[in-house]
Symmetry: C2
Subunit: 412 residues, 2 copies
């Protein structure tokens, strides 16, 4: 992509009301546009990052047999009344709207009810299970405050998965398979080392704990206690001697940390399936309850977490596998050579942002640091005199001079 | 994909309140689930078709330089008041909602205002234009009636593009480039022959006509008059002697037809940019108005159109390039051979739905016809005795026996 053609520009300042660092940087670099508090639009480079994260999440969910669907945002109230989750006194963060004829509708904040309703068309026998369904879709939550940029949105992109099993043992297998896939997602995003499976409250329908996946960061809203050796943590909410004993954790091994929840997985027992009257017939033709699990990953939140964590005073620092482009090629007045290198790289399938603008070297360097593409290539009189192009990783301070062929050999 | 693992099943009947043939077939085949009138969820095979259509649309929009973004569903009313499109008396198909604090929000029904608002962060100089921005995103329209399945939704997937030009001449070039890309989209969907550029009302802001892209079908809601020789049409709404003369069309060359609008393109002049106070400075530093165009394609509607048009009494008949799978492989009691063929095909990168279920031959044939995958392969005792597998196109009635290698050579 030629930067001269890209319609976004970097900006000196984020909007005055934007207090979250992740959003400030992403706005200044031209990745997102703030529509209102907690509601952000994705500009071309922001959308590329988001699509890269979606791709990783999708591959891992497909890898554990997830079948992708796309549920609707508009929701009929009837199915939510069956589970007693319609009333604003019970669920306080609905956005609601109305048909012209006055019929109330919900604006999708989660999808347990509609998923169960949809699969009830297909599921009846023990032979139909286990299976898992997921979607990657916008959720809408009427948050009172939304000041954390992409870390807490009123409209945000989420991957939500649902499993359907015949019994607890089968559910357990599905659940742990998905937990393992979650760890692979965080690993691939470069967050594996600092993301902990964290025991948390399971809700009122199960005696079991739920699992949160907490990425350590000082801007996190959650307080957790980490057992570094066991690579697990416990949410402050459920920290009690009784629970520590249940979990086999010792107070003296725990360190208090701040975390941001980048995923969660719940045991739903048969609450939703029972409430929506979905059962199955077992091998003996007897009616049985269906055990559900649900599994969320905040896709746009992950973009915010990465932006927040992998930044320095100069700007964003994207990990290789979700960066909007692999290479940022800066032409400092050497049009012919730079054009040739741009063509060489793109013809090899390398995704390049090519700064072909008429702008000063200082402006190009500053923009490149702010945008945060992993590898910067500079073509200048100086670099050509030294025998090639200057290569620098965004995450490192040292640069070196290589020929184009050497660079292609390195990156290939 | 093993059909035994796919969680959807075909159904004998669509819901009683579903009157549109496209939705009846898509529901029965397990492609979509009806949430409410005009609101459909996409099950795995439906989502695959939708993604295939998106891919074609995206490729063609990228091909004319479109830059993809993702705007938001939640909309602040302020920007819509500036163009006088907030008041329900002016725009009667808004869905609206509220923040907890009572602030009214819109639920995105189109995106001219937010796009102009977003690009005002970046655009100031004549050097920044022309450019075009697009998104593929759900739109929400509070339709009084929604009885046409995917042909008219309250929640539906749309590609909307916006161009920004310095003057009318430049706008004209952008506009015609995009019209040409639209024709390529319909060609690739197999609708090119029966889809006509159709002159229609331009709205109150321009003396010019808009263009609709109308696909001929008896279930279409629009009446158009087609000039077969010139490959254009005129919408009944603007059929007058004066307009025919302007357009160089003659009444006697026109044939009345029913059509469904699968795209539209509008000249917006500078209505939205002026109203939102976005101008540019020309080469002489003088403030000038920005000329906009907008361009829509109904992505989910196209899925409905294809389902409706390319069907027969047995079910759906997907065109090759948007089909959920290329090959439907039916195992009629020859497990070992069928498994081997399934592995051979998938290892060559061919997308196969493999009917490995324990079901009768009759059931498998009927499901295969209903689902409508372009090529059906049958492995049976009979086919093996005849020397291979039975191949039949969904759109043809004749079948033939070929070896797996012959088939691979054909399809490759």
């Amino acid at each position: 992509m030629r930067q001269s053609q890209l319609f976004t520009r970097t900006q000196k300042n984020a909007p005055a009301d934007e207090v979250a660092m992740n959003a400030q940087l992403l706005i200044r670099a031209g990745f997102i546009h703030k529509e209102m508090a907690g509601v952000y639009a994705y500009m071309p480079m922001g959308l590329r990052v988001l699509e890269n994260i979606k791709k990783i999440v999708r591959e891992e969910m497909n890898g554990v047999g997830g079948q992708e669907v796309m549920m609707t945002t508009l929701q009929p109230k009837e199915i939510w009344e069956k589970t007693d989750r319609w009333d604003d006194a019970k669920v306080d963060n609905w956005f609601k709207t109305k048909l012209v004829n006055g019929t109330e509708l919900g604006v999708g904040l989660t999808h347990e009810e509609p998923i169960v309703d949809a699969i009830s068309n297909y599921l009846s026998s023990y032979k139909d299970m286990p299976f898992s369904v997921y979607q990657i879709q916008n959720k809408f939550r009427n948050e009172k405050r939304a000041k954390s940029g992409l870390l807490r949105g009123r409209e945000f992109l989420m991957k939500d998965m649902y499993t359907f099993s015949r019994n607890q043992r089968e559910h357990e297998q599905e659940y742990e398979k998905i937990v393992a896939a979650y760890h692979r997602v965080y690993d691939r995003l470069g967050l594996g080392e600092i993301t902990y499976r964290t025991y948390a409250d399971g809700g009122i329908f199960t005696p079991r704990f739920s699992d949160e996946f907490q990425t350590l960061t000082e801007v996190g809203e959650d307080t957790i206690y980490v057992d570094e050796k066991k690579r697990v943590a416990i949410n402050e909410e459920i920290l009690s001697d009784e629970n520590l004993e249940k979990l086999g954790l010792k107070k003296e091994d725990l360190v208090q940390k701040k975390g941001v929840e980048v995923g969660n997985t719940f045991h739903l027992e048969s609450k939703y399936t029972d409430a929506l009257d979905l059962y199955y017939n077992d091998e003996n033709g007897e009616k049985q309850s269906i055990i559900m699990g649900c599994y969320g990953i905040g896709v746009s939140r992950l973009m915010g977490v990465v932006a927040e964590l992998f930044a320095d005073e100069k700007g964003l620092v994207w990990p290789e596998n979700i960066a909007p482009y692999s290479v940022h090629l800066l032409n400092l007045g050497q049009d012919e050579e730079a054009e040739k290198i741009y063509n060489d790289l793109t013809s090899k399938g390398i995704e390049v942002l090519f700064d072909d603008r008429e702008a000063s070297a200082g402006e190009k360097f500053a923009d490149s640091d702010l945008i945060g593409i992993p590898t910067r290539l500079v073509v200048s009189k100086k670099s050509l005199a030294a025998g090639g192009i200057e290569v620098k990783k965004r995450s490192e301070s040292e640069s070196s001079i290589v020929t184009v062929n050497e660079f292609l050999a390195q990156i290939g």
